[in-house]
Symmetry: C2
């Protein structure tokens, strides 16, 4: 086929289709984040793109599938960040810090924000297991990075499960409070939060927190 042919090649058609599907997902995720999933209809999404709801159905079967695709994109971004961090040079602590900063940044971006804002109950019973399975993989990747940093002595030995929950919670929360149009850019928020959190994981010469007795009283 000549480059100036009016007929598109199968590869061009596939790319065109993928670009249109992506545009629908991007428009949808922004509306879900802004108004909430339940307050957004596929008609609203279609209108914002200047197309009809019937056109959306060429690419995505239902509003539930749109949401599942949106959270899957966000969760895959988090998994990619974990895979990248694991291949980095440097200490276990440096790899952990790298992942945590990316994790926070993704949660302030469109698809990651949707992951955090979406409760399982918004998804259909059929879609929930995939959402849960991906979240479990990310939790497991975080625990592995924590264990590696404990193993090479660059963070303190700590309760890996609870520390993972504390870190994830602190770095999920910007999906609720960070204003994308605000003064502090996502990478600065991420770096500051990770600094505050990692200080708590510094290796210690003496075992046990210094202030436990008075705190417990």
């Amino acid at each position: 086929m000549l480059p100036d042919s009016p007929f598109r090649s199968p590869a061009q058609r596939a790319a065109d289709r993928a670009a249109k599907r992506d545009a629908v997902l991007r428009a949808a995720v922004r509306m879900f984040n802004e108004r909430g999933f339940h307050a957004t209809s596929l008609d609203d999404v279609a209108t914002s793109l200047g197309i009809s709801k019937r056109t959306i159905y060429h690419y995505l079967a239902s509003k539930d599938q749109v949401l599942l695709e949106c959270v899957t994109i966000g969760l895959n971004q988090l998994l990619d960040a974990a895979a990248e961090a694991r291949t980095e040079e440097g200490s276990g602590r440096a790899r952990l810090a790298r992942f945590l900063r990316r994790y926070a940044e993704i949660n302030m971006d469109d698809f990651g924000r949707c992951v955090i804002r979406t409760g399982e109950e918004a998804l259909s019973a059929e879609s929930r297991p995939r959402f849960r399975a991906l979240k479990r993989q990310i939790d497991s990747a975080l625990r592995q990075l924590l264990s590696d940093a404990i193993a090479d002595g660059t963070i303190a030995a700590t309760d890996v499960r609870m520390t993972a929950f504390a870190l994830a919670g602190a770095l999920n929360w910007p999906a609720r409070w960070h204003d994308p149009s605000g003064a502090m850019p996502p990478d600065a928020v991420a770096a500051t939060l990770v600094d505050v959190l990692l200080r708590g994981l510094d290796p210690r010469p003496v075992p046990g927190p210094a202030h436990s007795p008075s705190e417990r009283s």
Copy 2:
């Protein structure tokens, strides 16, 4: 009026009314937390109490009012915890730790869980300002407790705003992951999370985290 009169006094009638209203809110908040706000109807809430939806309307005007009352109860529990912590004996750090543990425990209880699981977008435009105003008060109370602990030298000087966000996020998250029927009771989860987080706020003899240069690379 005699104690065995079949007629109820005004005080008894008011108490009776308050108890019925509370029962409706308790049943509603559990369903909101379990199924999600949008998937719960006031008919479902009424059925679970063996009453009709019309009976609910004697006590609460709308589903939006039910949600607003539920989150207001949770937010007031958090504000009470902050007020209590401020009057405690001991160091700034001990008062902060006390508040943070209660904060986490409340977020694992019915009404606190609803505060965290409810996005602003679920509330009507009229109800949102009250929700936001109460959340701002709690944020402000947490920042004050942090500032007090920095002032008396029992935690490190730190970015109060970002530290408040990190602490709140880490202690909000159990509203999503903690299983009330699970093995670890809320007070143990709260104490462990707060220990992990407060270690990061220990006063430091030398300024700056030990590992910053490698983490930034």
